[in-house]
C-alpha cells in the first residue's frame, strides 16, 4: 500500500517514512553532528547520554507494578510508611524474598519463608510471624525488587 502524503506539498516527511516495522538503523551518539565554534569540548568523545532510573530499577517493564507501603511492620527491612515498592511479577518468589501477598483478601508486604513451613514474616518484633495454614486464601502478588524512599525537606 503506498503511503499517502499528509502535507499539502505532497512531500512525504522523511521522519514519517512508510509504515514499516522498526528499521534497524543504527543509533548515532548524541551531539555527533554539532560543530561548535572555537575548540571542541574535550568531553565530546566521552558523552554517553544520561542515566535512566527505569533502566536501573525495572528489568521487566510490562510486569512491574508500583505499590505504596503503609505502617511499620517492615522497618527492619528498610521499608517505611509511605515508601514506594517496585513489584516485579516476572520473578519467581523464593525463600527469603520480600513479597506482596494476599492473605484472605488483604494485600500485605512481608518476607516470604518457604521452610520449614510457609510463613510471612514481618521485619519488626512487634508483629508475630504469620504461618499460612493449608486452605488459607493465599497468593503471592509479586516480588519486591526495589524500595523508593524519598527524603522530605
Amino acid at each position: 500500500m503506498p503511503f499517502a502524503p499528509f502535507f499539502a506539498s505532497q512531500q512525504q516527511p522523511e521522519w514519517l517514512g512508510s509504515p514499516t516495522v522498526d528499521s534497524d538503523r543504527r543509533a548515532l551518539p548524541l551531539y555527533l553532528n554539532t560543530v561548535a565554534a572555537g575548540f571542541p569540548s574535550p568531553a565530546q568523545d566521552y558523552l554517553e547520554g544520561c542515566l535512566d532510573l527505569h533502566e536501573l530499577l525495572i528489568k521487566h517493564p510490562t510486569a512491574t507494578f508500583f505499590v505504596r507501603a503503609r505502617g511499620d511492620s517492615m522497618r527492619g527491612a528498610a521499608i517505611f510508611d509511605g515508601d514506594i515498592l517496585l513489584v516485579d511479577r516476572a520473578l519467581q518468589a523464593q525463600h527469603q524474598d520480600i513479597v506482596i501477598a494476599s492473605v484472605d483478601g488483604d494485600m500485605t508486604v512481608k518476607r516470604l519463608l518457604l521452610q520449614p513451613q510457609l510463613t510471612l514474616q514481618a521485619a519488626n518484633p512487634k508483629y508475630p510471624p504469620m504461618v499460612i495454614a493449608d486452605g488459607t486464601d493465599f497468593e503471592v502478588f509479586g516480588v519486591v525488587s526495589s524500595i523508593i524512599h524519598q527524603l522530605k525537606r
Binding site: A4, F7, L16, D24, R26, T62, A69
Partner: protein, 428 residues
C-alpha cells in the same frame, strides 16, 4: 477469492477473559469470591461481568437502576468503567504478547491475533498456547484463552470454544482436521466470526445451523446469495487462510491509528504532526463506520530493539466530554495528552492513537453539559472526508487550543492503580 497459499499458515487469537472485570480484581483480592460488574460511562448500564455475575444471570447491557435490587441481594461489587486502568493493562498484555510471538495484530482492547506460522516446527502449538497463558497470568494476573488454527476465523472459533468447554484448559489448537470437524459441528453458526444474528437467521432458513454446515456449503452459491465476505469465511473455516494479520471484517469496537516511524522522531513539533495525522486518520475511520468515540488514548515509545538507546514508552487516556467523531474535538483533547507524555531526548520509534468506547449514532446518549454533535460539525466532517477521498491530504487540521474539562458521573470508580502516583495500591 485469494488462491490458497502454498505454505500452511497458523494463527492464534489471544483473548482476555472478562477483561474489565479481571482488571478490577487485580488489586482487590478481597473481591476474588464476589460477583463483579462494570458500568458504562456515566454509570448507565452493565458492560462487563465476571464469571460469577454471569452465573447470576445479570443481563449484559441492563440499565443500573433496573438491576439494583439484584446487585444488592447478591452483594455484587459494582465499578464505573476505569479506562485508565484497562488501557494500561491492555498495553501491558499486548507488549507481553509482542515479546512472545513473532507478529501481533492488536484487534481490540482485550484481543490480539498472533501469526505463528513456522512455530509448529519447533514447538507443540498447544504447549505454546499454554506458555502464553501462564506468562500473562503470572506477569499480569489476567486470565486469557488462546485459540489456534490455520486461519483467523478458525483461531477465533477455537478461542470461543475454549470458553465453552473447560476441558481444553484455555487453549485449543484446531490444526488437526478431525478435531476441527468435531468442534465445528458443535458451534452454532451465529458464533462464527463475521456472522451476525441477522445473517444467522437467513442461514438457518437454508438449514445451515452449525459452523460445520457452513463450512460444507458451496462457496459459489453463498457468494451469489450473500457476499464475497461470507464465501471467504467458508474457505477460512476449511483451513484456508484468506485474511492476513491486518485485515478485519467487522465494525471495530476500537480504532487504532499507529505506525512505526521510518526514522526516529526527536522533536516535539514532528511528533505533534504525526499525532495530528493519526487522529485525522482514526477519526476518518470512525466516521466511515458511523461511530462516535468517548475515549482517546495516546501512546509513544522508543525502539525496544536498540539496547544502546534508553527506552521510554508511555501511554495516557482521556474521557471525551461528549461522544464525538469530529477531528477538531479529538485534536483538542489529544494535544494536552502529548504534553503529558512527551520527554525530551528520546529517539521515538512509534506513536499512535486509540479511539475506544465507541457508540453508534442511534444509541447516542447526550448529557446536559455536552451538546449533541451538531449538524454543522457533521456537515464539515463529511465535506472533509469527501475532499480527502478525492485527493488524500487536501484538507488537514492544525493544532488547536485547549478547552475546559468537566467530570462525568463515575460514582464507583476504582483508583488509577497503575497510572497515578497518588492512587497506588497500598499494602501494610
Amino acid at each position: 477469492m485469494h488462491p490458497p497459499t502454498s505454505t500452511p499458515r497458523c494463527f492464534a487469537l489471544v483473548d482476555c477473559n472478562n477483561f474489565y472485570a479481571s482488571c478490577e480484581r487485580l488489586f482487590r483480592p478481597d473481591l476474588k469470591q464476589r460477583p463483579l460488574v462494570v458500568l458504562s460511562n456515566n454509570d448507565g448500564c452493565i458492560i462487563a461481568r465476571c464469571a460469577l455475575a454471569k452465573q447470576l444471570q445479570i443481563p449484559m447491557g441492563a440499565p443500573l437502576h433496573q438491576v439494583k435490587a439484584l446487585l444488592k441481594q447478591h452483594r455484587v461489587a459494582v465499578f464505573s468503567s476505569n479506562y485508565a486502568l484497562y488501557g494500561d493493562l491492555s498495553s501491558r498484555v499486548m507488549q507481553t504478547l509482542e515479546q512472545l510471538a513473532p507478529k501481533v495484530e492488536i484487534y481490540s482492547i482485550d484481543e490480539a491475533f498472533l501469526e505463528l506460522s513456522g512455530v509448529e516446527a519447533c514447538q507443540d502449538l498447544t504447549d505454546f498456547g499454554q506458555h502464553i497463558r501462564q506468562t500473562i497470568q503470572q506477569q499480569l494476573g489476567l486470565p486469557v484463552c488462546v485459540g489456534i488454527g490455520p486461519s483467523k476465523t478458525l483461531a477465533k472459533l477455537a478461542n470461543h470454544a475454549t470458553k465453552k468447554y473447560p476441558q481444553f484448559a484455555g487453549v485449543l489448537d484446531l490444526s488437526d482436521v478431525h478435531k476441527r470437524l468435531h468442534v465445528l459441528a458443535r458451534v452454532p453458526v451465529h458464533d462464527v466470526w463475521g456472522v451476525g444474528r441477522k445473517l444467522a437467521e437467513r442461514l438457518q432458513a437454508m438449514e445451515i445451523q452449525t459452523a460445520l454446515q457452513l463450512a460444507r456449503a458451496c462457496p459459489q452459491q453463498i457468494r451469489k446469495k450473500f457476499s464475497v465476505v461470507l464465501a471467504r469465511t467458508i474457505n477460512e473455516l476449511n483451513g484456508t487462510a484468506c485474511l492476513t494479520l491486518d485485515e478485519v471484517q467487522e465494525p471495530k469496537q476500537q480504532i487504532i491509528s499507529s505506525r512505526s516511524f521510518g526514522q526516529r522522531v526527536l522533536d516535539k513539533a514532528s511528533m505533534q504532526q504525526a499525532i495530528t495525522l493519526y487522529i485525522s486518520r482514526a477519526a476518518e475511520k470512525l466516521r466511515s463506520q458511523h461511530s462516535y468515540a468517548r475515549q482517546l488514548t495516546l501512546f509513544l515509545r522508543t525502539s525496544r530493539f536498540q539496547s544502546q538507546d534508553p527506552f521510554y514508552g508511555n501511554s495516557v487516556s482521556i474521557h471525551l466530554p461528549a461522544p464525538t467523531a469530529d477531528t477538531r474535538h479529538l485534536l483538542q483533547a489529544a494535544m494536552p495528552l502529548l504534553d503529558q507524555l512527551w520527554r525530551n531526548g528520546y529517539r521515538y520509534a512509534k506513536a499512535g492513537v486509540v479511539l475506544s468506547d465507541l457508540c453508534e449514532a442511534s444509541g447516542l446518549q447526550t448529557s446536559f453539559f455536552a451538546p449533541a454533535p451538531s449538524e454543522r460539525s457533521e456537515q464539515l466532517m463529511a465535506l472533509v472526508d469527501q475532499l480527502n477521498q478525492r485527493q488524500r491530504g487536501s484538507v488537514f487540521f492544525a493544532r488547536q487550543g485547549k478547552d475546559g474539562d468537566w467530570q462525568m458521573q463515575r460514582k464507583f470508580l476504582s483508583p488509577a492503580y497503575t497510572t497515578r502516583w497518588d492512587q497506588l495500591p497500598e499494602v501494610n
